[in-house]
């Protein structure tokens, strides 16, 4: 059972997304409070399990922009420029040379089946009579068609998203650290006081201060009452509020610590920062008994039987036997920087890294995380599917030779054969660009040493 860090989260006040056309499996997609701003009539805001409220098209499919992630070694980033779509209907055939030391102009793998950017990232077209609204504007594509843009960035959907609340287009979590240009879902602003921010973490949507440092709550506080005085204040810093702030606003309220000194509370729990906290988005304060991180939406429960294992880098997700679970990450060195990490995309990159193009070795070294025959996900982001290990493609359930596997964001998960003890992460950062371009990363639940000195 997933532990709700803030007790009251279990009965979230926020409404379940939309209300129509949502299958039972989307029940975890809570719609967090967000700031309503003008948007095109064909756009809606839907809740997601791990990415907060996102903009979606009329089908409920998440909207994305192209541009995010980081440039590689100063070789210039990709992505759409302002007010222009570089996502064309023609198929990119050669590399752009962003993967030094490899030059530009080399033929890409599996060209015969390679799709155009616009095929896998359908533009969100605007009607001829559509008018710009708020942050939304209209750009003209090279073929003359009109496309919506958000903050001057062309907007797309992803063919990987099938249901409302899917955010499969953006890769693992929000692809932070990915080398290459990624697509990122676009979201309305969360309805939070300006001092706070929310960050999507494997454990949920973590509430932090705007500078990224965690906020915490304490068991010994009462509802809208702080009991942290004296010695407690040597370690904890109440998050203060303005004198003119209204008393209550949604989940938020202010309480007077002493006459004229106001503190924020969230869902009736006074909020604190930890003095000398170790790094941004830290779990450190919650190691102290009675103290907890705060989530606007806790992450969906990990599949039944999964475990969490400790190692020198923090805590990783593992299968029932304690073997670390890995995700595979891949972005092609083409102008459209398509993903190559999904069963519907080319498998060549993965096979190069996982088995030196030897599919058998690959399946032996990096086996799929097999799900029980009757395994069922309780959430949308975790799933079970059948995959043909010889092709890496999804197949219909029961197809001979197929494997029933766990998926995250519609991508299979793996373990590594050479990991022997629980917590081993021998394949972490395997692959190109330390695995951030094309390779494997452990599924970190707690990254304790992310910060440099």
């Amino acid at each position: 059972m997933f532990k709700r860090t803030v007790a009251s989260c279990v009965v979230l006040a926020a409404a379940v997304a939309g209300g129509t056309g949502i299958a039972a499996e989307t029940k975890n997609s809570v719609l967090e409070a967000y700031v309503h701003e003008p948007m095109p009539s064909i756009v809606q805001v839907v809740g997601t399990e791990m990415d907060g409220p996102v903009f979606a098209d009329s089908r409920g499919h998440t909207l994305y922009v192209f541009g995010g992630g980081r440039d590689r070694g100063g070789y210039g980033g990709g992505g759409d420029p302002k007010d222009k779509s570089n996502c064309h209907t023609t198929v990119d055939k050669v590399t752009t040379g962003n993967m030094a030391p490899w030059p530009a102009g080399m033929e890409l793998p599996d060209l015969a089946t390679r799709k155009s950017c616009a095929e896998v990232w359908p533009p969100l077209y605007a009607a001829d009579d559509a008018k710009p609204v708020g942050n939304w504007s209209i750009i003209t594509r090279d073929d003359g068609k009109k496309q919506w843009a958000f903050d001057h960035k062309a907007v797309y959907t992803s063919t990987l998203d099938q249901r409302q609340g899917d955010v499969n287009g953006g890769g693992y979590l929000h692809a932070q650290g990915a080398s290459g240009t990624v697509r990122t879902p676009i979201s309305p602003r969360e309805d939070l006081p300006a001092q706070f921010d929310v960050e999507s973490m494997p454990t949920g949507r973590m509430l932090t201060l705007v500078d990224g440092f965690s906020v915490y709550t304490w068991d010994k506080d009462g509802p809208n009452k702080s009991n942290c005085d004296g010695a407690c204040l040597a370690q904890w810093k109440p998050v203060l509020a303005a004198a003119t702030a209204p008393q209550v606003h949604g989940d938020w309220a202010i309480i007077a610590r002493s006459p004229g000194v106001f503190q924020w509370t969230y869902r009736k729990k006074p909020l604190y920062a930890l003095n000398g906290d170790q790094q941004k988005r830290s779990f450190h304060g919650a190691d102290i008994p009675g103290w907890h991180n705060v989530y606007t939406t806790p992450g969906p429960a990990f599949p039944k039987g999964f475990t969490v294992q400790r190692n020198p880098g923090g805590d990783v997700l593992a299968d029932a036997s304690g073997k670390t679970i890995y995700i595979f990450n891949c972005i092609e060195d083409a102008a459209d920087q398509q993903a190559c990490d999904h069963p519907t995309t080319t498998q060549q990159y993965r096979w190069a890294i996982c088995g030196g193009f030897d599919v058998k070795k690959c399946n032996a070294d990096f086996p799929y995380v097999v799900a029980d025959k009757n395994a069922k996900s309780t959430s949308q982001i975790w799933g079970v599917k059948d995959v043909d290990p010889t092709t890496g493609r999804y197949v219909d359930p029961g197809t001979p030779g197929s494997v029933h596997v766990w998926t995250f964001r519609d991508r299979p998960l793996y373990t590594f054969a050479r990991d022997t003890a629980p917590g081993d992460v021998r394949a972490n950062a395997w692959g190109e660009g330390n695995g951030w371009r094309n390779g494997f990363h452990a599924f970190w639940v707690r990254e304790e040493f992310r910060r440099q000195f």
Partner: protein, 384 residues
């Protein structure tokens, strides 16, 4: 004497940290009016002294132009091999260049290298005599010490990255001192004298605190404090019996894991580096220590750690080709044969420098996992 650690103790100091503060020996003897000899070892407290590593590099002996030890020049890296592997420009594809190379990086072979590779020539090198013998293939130090075992040097000494002005050599010391993941601390206990003591214990830890830079920003100050990581870093804790003679500490040999993450992205740590039969030979002083750590690098962990932290682009900076280097490492491996009799480790030495720190052993506090699954949290990486 047994090395003991009491939760809450600062090495060399009597009192406990507590909510109310701490009380310890002052920074000077009480009222010390007399002119004591300068540089007194007041950093040894309660018979203990700690050091944090500020610089680490592989022990590579090199002559000025490299012509003596690398008469055929330096090794090719991915960039140069690219042309050799795919001479026909028209036929180059992602599959047969980049992915083909990467597949060999991650799945290296010991089959003969089709491309040229240069090993160190001659018999001069740095390091330690690991096996206590003087064999025909052993190296001699520039000062004439015989029996030095350092086949790693032979394997990688003609690769620019590992030479003094190579990128890897420039960056490795920085990774050791700047990546939070990599902070490496040793603590000497049961110390009666830093000059001569026939029974001391050396314990390694990962440290959790930022090193304190001096005003020039280029070196680190003695006198800082390092908290030993007893929660996530147990894998790195090892203790060695040792002795100090004329200011030189030597220890017994034991297996040792050293934390190995890239400074660019500490998340890329993980495999770490295992040294078999590692031992210390350090000049120890009140404010600093330096010298060698010598042992047999476990090839799998050493090789993968080097690629997990530096990708083909970085390797290209200094002519490191993973597939070629792996063959060289395996060819010169000289320790720890597997069940097929194939050696899995290679003699090596590290050039290391430390600055003095106080080592703090925090109250045992178990970090909670941020989520509570049905599974228990296990700590791993305890050495055998």
């Amino acid at each position: 004497m047994k090395n003991t650690h009491v939760a809450g103790l600062i090495s060399g100091v009597v009192a406990l940290f507590g909510a109310a503060g701490m009380t310890q020996a002052a920074d000077a003897p009480a009222a010390a009016p007399a002119a004591a000899p300068a540089g007194a070892a007041d950093t040894v407290r309660n018979r203990a002294i700690g050091y944090v590593m500020v610089s680490e590099n592989r022990a590579i002996y090199e002559t000025k132009d490299g012509k003596t030890e690398c008469p055929q020049g330096y090794n090719d890296g991915p960039r140069e091999q690219f042309k050799l592997r795919n001479p026909d420009e028209a036929k180059r594809t992602v599959m047969n260049t980049r992915l083909s190379f990467e597949s060999e990086v991650w799945h290296p072979a010991t089959t003969p290298d089709p491309l040229p590779y240069h090993y160190i020539q001659g018999n001069i090198g740095e390091g330690l005599n690991l096996d206590g013998k003087v064999g025909p293939n052993d190296l001699s130090s520039p000062l004439g010490e015989k029996g030095i075992d350092n086949n790693l040097y032979r394997a990688i000494g003609c690769t620019r990255n590992f030479r003094a002005d190579g990128e890897t050599s420039i960056l490795t010391p920085q990774w050791r001192s700047r990546a939070r993941y990599n902070t490496f601390v040793i603590e000497l206990t049961d110390v009666d004298s830093l000059a001569n003591d026939d029974d001391v214990t050396v314990t390694t830890y990962r440290g959790l605190d930022k090193l304190i830079a001096d005003a020039t920003g280029n070196s680190y100050l003695p006198g800082g404090t390092q908290t030993a990581d007893m929660t996530f870093g147990r894998k790195f804790i090892q203790s060695f019996k040792g002795k100090i003679k004329d200011g030189v500490l030597t220890t017994e040999a034991k297996d040792l894991w050293m934390p190995t993450a890239s400074v660019y992205d500490p998340r890329d740590g993980g495999p770490d580096t295992l040294y078999r039969a590692m031992r210390f030979q350090l000049n120890v002083a009140a404010k600093s220590a330096d010298g060698y750590m010598g042992g047999y690098a476990d090839i799998e962990s050493w090789y993968y750690a080097s690629h997990n932290t530096r990708d083909a682009l970085h390797q290209s900076y200094g002519g490191t080709s993973g597939p070629s280097m792996y063959r060289a490492l395996m060819k010169l491996a000289d320790y720890a044969p597997d069940k097929n009799g194939v050696n899995t480790a290679i003699s090596s030495a590290l050039n290391v420098r430390f600055t003095q720190v106080f080592v703090r052993h925090p109250d045992a506090q178990v970090a909670k996992a941020p989520i509570d699954t049905s599974a228990t949290i296990q700590t791993t990486g305890q050495r055998e």
